[in-house]
């Protein structure tokens, strides 16, 4: 037995958690971990992680602040959007809206006007509108750059997970300018913290308060003490659909929207045992949780005048009249319900282990949650050390989402994503436009939602495009060597015999090495092996 194999086996047995089947080689284990905790392996990365020990790499990923990430920090400086706070973005949005209205008036005055989408007589877009649109493109591309180049891969995966779990649709009114701070200030700092803190932060975030309408929820019959100061009056752009929804009305009652999604999606789950009366009482608890001055960036505000002053009962638990603190107590209560632990753990296992998460890893995650009062890192560690995570049937069992496919292809092909929205547009074409899921459910994790004939053809086209830009594979005169290099660098040696033979067959009459390389890399990235993780 060669020394390297013995070393690998020793490392494997030393590093693997108790109870994990020893059927995976150290390299396969590393590739599996990179496919799930990271956005796939860069060329050679499966080997380096295997050498260092996969469990040691996982521990490092669970402690991202100790990983240096200088390259990403440099890349982030290219993104103007990170220099702007909510107020700045609100101002830019307002300028863009004014400009749009002015142009609409002009266009209507200068009849006949032509269809703007129809192509005839396209007017140059005014500067503020163009600038705001560019910022929107930056927001998406920034997510791609971070996922592709960050060394703190697990944190990026978890930012994506929580952004999707606590989904906010960027196209709804004020969320066009509230979403960036939601990601930077609400989600990112807490992605590996405690679930309870994350839940409270999302509940208080202007983006969520606006998206799920809680900002408009007031106790029936309540009215602001000084009507002129009400945030619902004299809005330059208003509460629901801005700025068109002109006839403003004072909100007149509770809005159950956030209360329902909080329990159905964010915490307990649809079968979490709550009733419609619980939904109403949760909504009553959150009356008065609102936002102030949308035109200045809409900070959180609690309006005591709008708050329902009665006692409330939720899931049999009494919440005595206590103003804003009622909501905080309720969120802590919900965060630690068994149904919540189970619902969120099962979602994490669907992301990291299998579309249909096995009971074993879900139970392990719930146990860790209970022991640590919802420490997300402890919950993740329990999943990554569970035998289900390392079971052979879990390996390559999941299909990549469009975002995962694009980012992993970029990483494998050695493409440095630029700061244009180009790659984000590819992700959108594959069916997952970032931050543009209107429903609070977020995007689905299961393959049935991503695999269909049109989307697969789009993946193949994207793969051919990536192949042209690929820098990770050199030219070879010998086709067998070329295919072997692709197998090693793009798929860590997991390319199927079928894929190899089909690619080789396609290369037979191609003599130009560069052309052969592009064809082979494109087929490998667009083929079935690379769709899986």
């Amino acid at each position: 037995m060669p020394l390297s194999v013995i070393t690998a086996l020793c490392l494997l047995t030393a590093q693997m958690p108790a109870g994990s089947p020893g059927t995976l080689t150290a390299r396969d284990s590393a590739f599996h971990a990179l496919n799930r905790l990271a956005y796939g392996a860069r060329p050679g990365e499966a080997d380096s992680v295997a050498r260092a020990g996969v469990m040691r790499w996982i521990e490092q990923q669970l402690d991202p602040d100790r990983i240096s990430d200088a390259h990403l920090a440099a890349r982030e400086r290219e993104f103007k959007i990170l220099d702007y706070d909510r107020g700045d973005l609100a101002e830019r949005y307002r300028d863009a809206q004014r400009e749009r209205q002015r142009m609409q008036r002009e266009m209507a005055d200068s009849y006949p006007l032509s269809d703007r989408r129809g192509g005839q007589g396209v007017r140059p877009e005014a500067r503020p509108m163009q600038e705001f649109r560019e910022l929107g493109g930056e927001l998406q591309q920034l997510a791609l750059v971070r996922a592709a180049v960050s060394e703190r891969q697990l944190r990026e995966v978890m930012v994506d997970f929580w952004t999707n779990h606590f989904n906010v649709f960027v196209g709804k009114g004020a969320d066009r300018f509230l979403l960036p701070s939601y990601i930077e200030e609400t989600i990112r700092p807490r992605a590996l913290g405690r679930f309870e803190d994350l839940l409270i932060a999302t509940a208080r975030s202007p983006a969520m308060l606006f998206y799920l309408d809680n900002a408009q929820s007031v106790a029936p019959g309540s009215a602001p003490p000084r009507p002129m100061m009400s945030p619902f009056r004299r809005r330059r752009f208003g509460m629901n659909e801005l700025p068109e929804d002109r006839p403003r009305r004072q909100p007149t009652g509770i809005n159950e929207n956030y209360a329902r999604e909080l329990m159905e999606l964010h915490t307990l789950g649809v079968d979490g045992g709550y009733t419609q009366q619980d939904v109403i009482n949760v909504a009553r608890i959150f009356t008065g949780w609102s936002i102030e001055r949308p035109d200045r960036g809409a900070g959180f505000v609690f309006h005591d005048w709008a708050h329902d002053q009665g006692d409330k009962i939720v899931l049999g638990q009494k919440f005595k009249r206590d103003g804003e603190d009622e909501g905080i107590r309720l969120l802590k209560f919900l965060a630690n319900q068994h149904a919540t632990m189970h619902h969120v753990s099962a979602k994490l296992c669907a992301r990291f282990v299998a579309d249909e998460p096995p009971d074993g890893c879900v139970d392990a995650a719930v146990a860790a949650w209970q022991q640590t009062h919802g420490d997300i890192r402890a919950v993740l560690r329990a999943i990554f050390t569970s035998p289900d995570f390392w079971a052979p049937q879990a390996v390559r069992a999941k299909v990549k989402t469009p975002f995962e496919f694009v980012v992993s292809a970029v990483r494998a092909a050695g493409i440095e994503p630029d700061d244009t929205p180009r790659l984000a547009q590819v992700v959108a074409r594959l069916g997952e436009p970032l931050y543009q899921q209107p429903a609070p459910t977020g995007y689905a994790e299961t393959e049935a939602h991503w695999v269909n004939s049109g989307a697969l053809l789009a993946r193949m086209n994207a793969a051919m495009m990536f192949a042209k830009q690929s820098s990770s594979i050199p030219d070879f005169d010998d086709h067998a060597q070329l295919v072997d290099a692709i197998d090693q660098k793009l798929l860590a040696g997991t390319m199927s015999a079928h894929t190899k033979s089909v690619i080789l067959e396609q290369l037979t009459d191609i003599n130009d090495p560069a052309q052969a390389r592009t064809m082979a890399v494109g087929l490998a990235l667009g083929g079935p092996d690379f769709q899986k993780q």
């Binding site: 209205q101 609409q104 008036r105 266009m107 209507a108 005055d109 009849y111 006949p112 006007l113 269809d115 989408r117 129809g118 192509g119 005839q120 649709f169 196209g171 709804k172 009114g173 629901n240 659909e241 068109e244 929804d245 002109r246 006839p247 929207n257 329902r260 999606l265 959108a428 074409r429 069916g431 209107p438 429903a439 609070p440 459910t441 689905a444 393959e447 049935a448 939602h449 695999v451 269909n452 004939s453 049109g454 989307a455 697969l456 053809l457 193949m460 086209n461 051919m464 079928h498 894929t499 089909v502 690619i503 067959e505 396609q506 064809m519 087929l523 667009g526 083929g527 079935p528 769709q531």
Partner: protein, 417 residues
């Protein structure tokens, strides 16, 4: 039960094959008056979403109503310009190309239709109209996709449900196969030369052939089948029939591509397209102006589509929809703001045309919704449900519109019995 139900359905509801039928089943079967036949005579539904909330009152004008003129001194369509339909309602003059279809009874208008939910947010209202669950935000899939999931009587060809645009809209989102096609001529693998394209197509086809039996394998097979079908149909060589003249612009191009797909007989059952630009808050115009321009394009495109498809319109229903209507009273900017009920158009051979359907609530102050908007007298799900059941032959509307019980008793009679 499943077997006897299928037998019953296939027999067109003429024979009761079992005495043990449950009442629910009888209710479902009663919807299905029409069954799909051979592929070229398969019923087809084309949906056009007028995003931005079209002003139903200036599209289908209640010119017989005094309040209409009182509330809209600057933007009402003068009675002499209206293309009269029935003495009370008339078409906006820009929709004049559709009058012929009205006269031959293949165009109907549905007025005072909308959502039971009172939201005036474009985003929420569009979402509700596409998911088919007003007031419920967490619905993950669209009603057209749920129809495809539950009605498996049709073979699932790759082109069964197609949205024209860069992305799949909510209405077609879900687990049943559906395609988003931005441009029919560019569908498939992209390569500058045809030879390269064919080669890539063959290579990927072989790669996925070896992917076993999973969803990846079956979906790729469907995809390549679609590419082959389209190649045979050769969309680059398309010439509209009867000199049908589609207007320039995206809508005309999209409707022409839908016509191509229908004539290619590739199994299309539901086509969907967007047309935007209806959010007329400022200087909406009257017989001429902003809205008029949009309506002219719509009228010309629909008329060209009907002319191009000729006899095939006997199996086609085109339905326009919009998330809500606009205020009865014009605003200070000679436009209209977000309202409640709006109007829709249904066009095609199966349509019970030449009529304005739905109960008209009137424009009097006390007849309005919240004192300002046209009241909704028809839940949009009753119209969509009728078309699904009586035109496409849906058998289980409760699965398509969960939480709602579409009832034949409430159907407007938009589809000929």
């Amino acid at each position: 039960m499943t077997i006897s139900r299928r037998v019953f359905v296939k027999a067109g509801g003429l024979t009761l094959v079992s005495l043990g039928l449950d009442p629910l089943f009888l209710g479902r079967a009663a919807y299905a008056l029409r069954r799909p036949l051979a592929s070229s005579s398969r019923p087809i539904l084309v949906c056009l979403f007028q995003r931005g909330a079209v002003d139903g009152l200036n599209m289908i004008v209640p010119h017989g109503e005094g309040a209409y003129y009182q509330e809209r001194p600057r933007i009402a369509i003068p009675a002499q310009d209206v293309v009269d339909l029935d003495g009370h309602f008339g078409l906006h003059p820009s929709l004049a190309p559709l009058k012929e279809l009205w006269d031959n009874k293949s165009l109907a208008a549905i007025h005072a239709i909308g959502s039971p939910d009172s939201t005036r947010s474009h985003f929420d209202a569009q979402d509700y109209m596409e998911t088919g669950t007003p007031g419920v935000k967490s619905t993950a899939d669209g009603w057209a996709n749920r129809y495809c999931q539950h009605d498996q009587e049709h073979a699932n060809t790759p082109f069964r449900a197609v949205a024209f645009g860069p992305q799949l809209p909510r209405i077609l989102a879900g687990t049943a196969p559906s395609l988003a096609i931005d441009d029919l001529q560019a569908f498939g693998l992209k390569a500058p030369q045809e030879a390269t394209r064919d080669r890539l197509t063959r290579a990927f086809e072989e790669l996925y052939d070896g992917a076993g039996t999973g969803l990846l394998a079956s979906s790729s097979r469907e995809g390549f089948e679609a590419v082959q079908m389209l190649k045979r149909a050769d969309p680059t060589q398309y010439k509209p029939a009867s000199n049908a003249d589609y207007p320039p612009g995206r809508l005309g191009k999209t409707l022409q591509q839908i016509a191509q797909l229908i004539k290619a007989d590739v199994g299309l059952e539901i086509a969907f397209a967007d047309c935007s630009g209806w959010d007329t808050h400022v200087n909406q115009g009257s017989s001429e102006g902003q809205l008029s321009t949009r309506l002219r394009e719509l009228g010309l495109a629909l008329a060209a589509f009907a002319k191009d498809l000729g006899d095939r319109m006997g199996n086609i229903v085109v339905l326009t929809m919009s998330e809500f209507g606009r205020t009865i009273r014009e605003n200070g900017n000679s436009g209209t703001d977000h309202g409640h009920a709006t109007a829709m158009l249904a066009l095609g051979g199966p349509v019970n045309g030449g009529r304005v359907l739905g109960r008209w609530p009137g424009l009097g102050v006390e007849q309005r919704f919240e004192g300002r908007d046209v009241a909704v007298t028809t839940d949009f799900r009753d119209l969509f449900g009728e078309i699904l059941a009586r035109h496409l032959g849906a058998t289980d509307l409760s699965a398509v519109f969960p939480g709602f019980a579409p009832s034949p008793a409430r159907f407007l009679g938009a589809i000929r019995a």
